[in-house]
């Protein structure tokens, strides 16, 4: 099981090559792993990527399956955040949490060392990025902090080494999440609106004047195609995390920086040519969320959206077509959400659990709780 393979690997090879990437493959050489291998021969195994913190204090990013087996562990120099997965699912880029300056390119199915990227001078990462449809370019949200200007770093991923080849304006402050629209040409960026400077750590410097937007940008020309802001009364709702629904609209979750006693809407639906629509969170639930949405994810068919609220220990589900609230699932410190199976969600939490939700009217099924791991904010499907 531990033998190393030198040529590019299949999934089976990925497991066999664990010794290369993993610092502690919990199940390697086990019959649990063998049962996975035999299953892989006939069907794809659901695999997920997430940043984490280990009980010993180390940060990392790993690949985990739905049995909770952490199949690859890559130690990071600090806390990670989001992950951009290549369209062919053979590589991913894990970004430092803001205001971090590292990112790593990981090829989990090959026995090669991850490539470490360091932010350009005068820039830091915000924690998210996305690939172009052909996988050749990577767009990373970054802060040009001397001028408090949001930019997209453009990286050429096609060569032997990653090259930063330019940047695009995000037309806002504090860009956070980024998506590639279904047309393959438009980038959707959530400008969270919050000004920070690395000299001040994570301190928020402009809460009185912040003006978040969701912008649509042409990735080839850099042109601003549309910019949507919410009503002025909601200017302190930082628009941060996004997912595309089946119709290509961006569902955006926010965190509210205004008075704690306010209960503003936290989730909006944005499209290039239409005014934003805000969803209505039932009052009994809204009051417990502490005005904070952590992750936004669509299921595989794009007809259900999950929005996690870790401070409230709730994940909310929405009908993507109608915007109707479908229900909520109580998961303590649950934040990472990834699509699994035909229409379900896998939710990761800070207490190590991976919970399956197929129907918000049923209790979540805890599939696994690998000891010693706290899953970080976001989880992404790798298969």
């Amino acid at each position: 099981m531990r033998s190393m393979v030198t040529k590019p690997l299949s999934r089976r090879g990925f497991l066999a090559a664990l010794g290369g990437l993993a610092t502690l493959p919990a199940f390697s050489g086990s019959t649990l792993a063998e049962s996975l291998l035999s299953r892989e021969a006939s069907e794809g195994v659901p695999l997920f990527v997430s940043a984490y913190k280990l009980e010993n204090g180390d940060y990392g990013v790993g690949v985990v399956d739905d049995l909770g087996q952490v199949l690859a562990r890559i130690t990071l120099p600090g806390r990670g955040h989001g992950v951009a997965i290549s369209p062919d699912k053979t590589r991913f880029v894990a970004f430092a949490r803001r205001p971090g300056t590292f990112a790593v390119v990981v090829r989990p199915f090959q026995d090669v060392a991850p490539e470490v990227l360091t932010a350009e001078a005068g820039r830091h990462y915000y924690g998210h990025g996305c690939f172009s449809a052909d996988g050749k370019l990577l767009y990373a949200v970054e802060n040009d902090y001397a001028t408090a200007r949001g930019v997209l770093g453009v990286y050429d991923m096609s060569g032997r080494q990653v090259q930063r080849i330019g940047e695009i304006e995000t037309h806002g402050i504090g860009p956070h999440d980024i998506l590639l629209a279904p047309d393959g040409r438009t980038l959707v960026v959530a400008n969270g609106g919050i000004m920070t400077h690395p000299d001040k750590g994570r301190e928020k410097l402009n809460l009185d004047t912040m003006a978040p937007t969701v912008v649509f940008v042409d990735r080839e020309t850099g042109d601003l195609l549309a910019s949507h802001a919410l009503d002025a009364s909601l200017h302190q709702l930082s628009l941060r995390h996004m997912a595309l629904d089946g119709q290509g609209r961006a569902w955006v979750g926010g965190q509210f920086e205004g008075p704690e006693t306010d209960l503003p809407p936290l989730i909006g639906v944005f499209s290039k040519d239409e005014a934003p629509i805000l969803t209505e969170i039932p009052t009994g639930i809204a009051s417990g969320l502490q005005n904070y949405i952590g992750s936004v994810t669509a299921n595989a068919s794009g007809d259900v959206i999950a929005t996690s609220a870790p401070r409230g220990g709730q994940t909310l589900f929405w009908n993507a077509d109608t915007g109707a609230f479908l229900g909520a699932e109580a998961i303590a410190d649950g934040c990472g959400v990834a699509p699994i199976d035909q229409g379900s969600f896998l939710i990761s939490d800070g207490n190590g659990a991976l919970s399956l939700v197929s129907d918000p009217a049923q209790p979540a099924e805890i599939l696994a709780r690998p000891p010693g791991i706290s899953w970080d904010n976001h989880m992404f499907a790798l298969s």
């Binding site: 010794g19 919990a26 060392a113 870790p310 220990g313 410190d333 209790p363 805890i366």
Partner: protein
């Protein structure tokens, strides 16, 4: 195995503590001395009896040896329940926790894998030395339960049959493996240079923690997680969405009729571990009521559990057993909220990883 390490960027910023910062080391010392060391030692002592009782029931499965096996297995589960929520240090090193008990297991991985081991009479399962390198699912208390008890909670280990020799050999290897791991855990906690030292040198900062408060937060949050596990993982799946959807087989260790022992053990464990910290003197006067309230709720919940008739597989659908467990679930939620929100708030302790400092 090659371990990839990245050059660590300069993240070692010195945390300057205000002059009035509380030193939590005495509290951590309380927990270690009054709870963790005695309880991990007790677990090691009971687990050490397992190999002999497996030998006994395998040599002659009469009423006395069966009863002794049942009693020792049950005591081992009880003592494991007292420590399983200590998900830091020796319990999680070398995957011990997963190897001690593969939980949760909603997809029945253990059963599937044990079937394979039995069908192939896998020789690696016959010695603790080789068993410990096999799947975590086939080497612990959950595996031993499947081997030793039938689905009606009767001991089948040692019963005559074609597979008796293999099953007994495998059960012995599991019990020796369990005894060894429990011994390692107790030893790890006794070791003054072990994880105790990590917790007890946190004030002023060490490799793991910046402050003793951070160390206290990590153990406090582990106790909260213990309550989350008890409710979300151990109780709710059995309750299902209603009485007609109840599944008593989903209680942990229901097969051996030990669910009540296990649930009581983990609740009592969290209660006593929390009490051992002795945080009263750090708690603002307005909040000291919490300790009595928490004890009252723990005692009520445990009292309620102890009125249930094991095995729950047989009794759960009778009388008011379902309602009692439904109340237990509510109590566990209430306990978790009181401890994780009110008590942690009163003590100014930081909570969940994702909830703490969002992005």
């Amino acid at each position: 195995m090659r371990r990839l390490l990245f050059a660590v960027l300069a993240v070692g910023a010195v945390t300057i503590q205000p002059a009035f910062a509380t030193d939590y080391e005495p509290k951590l010392d309380n927990l270690i001395e009054a709870y963790i060391r005695p309880q991990t030692s007790a677990f090691a002592e009971t687990a050490a009896k397992l190999p002999d009782v497996v030998r006994g029931v395998c040599a002659k499965a009469d009423a006395a040896s069966v009863e002794t096996f049942e009693a020792v297995y049950s005591e081992t589960l009880r003592d494991f329940a007292h420590v399983h929520f200590l998900r830091f240090g020796p319990l999680i090193d070398n995957d011990r926790l997963s190897r001690l008990a593969f939980l949760p297991d909603p997809r029945g991985i253990t059963q599937r894998q044990i079937r394979k081991v039995l069908a192939s009479e896998d020789k690696d399962a016959l010695s603790a030395d080789t068993l410990k390198d096999k799947s975590v699912a086939v080497q612990g208390l959950t595996a031993l339960e499947l081997l030793a008890f039938d689905k009606d909670s009767a001991v089948r280990l040692g019963q005559a049959g074609d597979d008796k020799a293999f099953t007994c050999g495998y059960a012995l290897a599991i019990s020796e493996n369990l005894a060894a791991m429990a011994g390692e855990i107790a030893g790890g906690w006794q070791d003054p240079d072990g994880y105790s030292a990590v917790l007890l040198t946190a004030e002023g900062g060490n490799e793991r923690f910046h402050t003793s408060k951070e160390a206290l937060e990590s153990v406090f949050n582990a106790l909260v997680t213990g309550l989350i596990i008890a409710r979300d993982q151990d109780v709710l799946p059995a309750l299902g969405t209603g009485r007609d959807k109840a599944k008593a087989t989903r209680f942990p260790f229901s097969r051996s009729g030990n669910s009540v022992v296990y649930l009581v053990g983990e609740m009592r464990g969290v209660q006593e571990a929390l009490a051992s910290l002795d945080l009263m003197d750090l708690t603002p006067n307005d909040f000291t009521w919490i300790y009595n309230a928490v004890d009252f709720e723990f005692d009520n919940a445990i009292g309620l559990l102890e009125t249930l008739e094991p095995p729950l597989r047989q009794s759960f659908e009778e009388g008011d057993a379902y309602d009692k467990v439904a109340v237990l679930a509510i109590t566990l939620k209430s306990l978790r909220d009181t401890i994780a929100l009110e008590l942690a708030g009163a003590l100014n302790l930081a909570g969940g990883f994702n909830a703490l400092d969002g992005d």
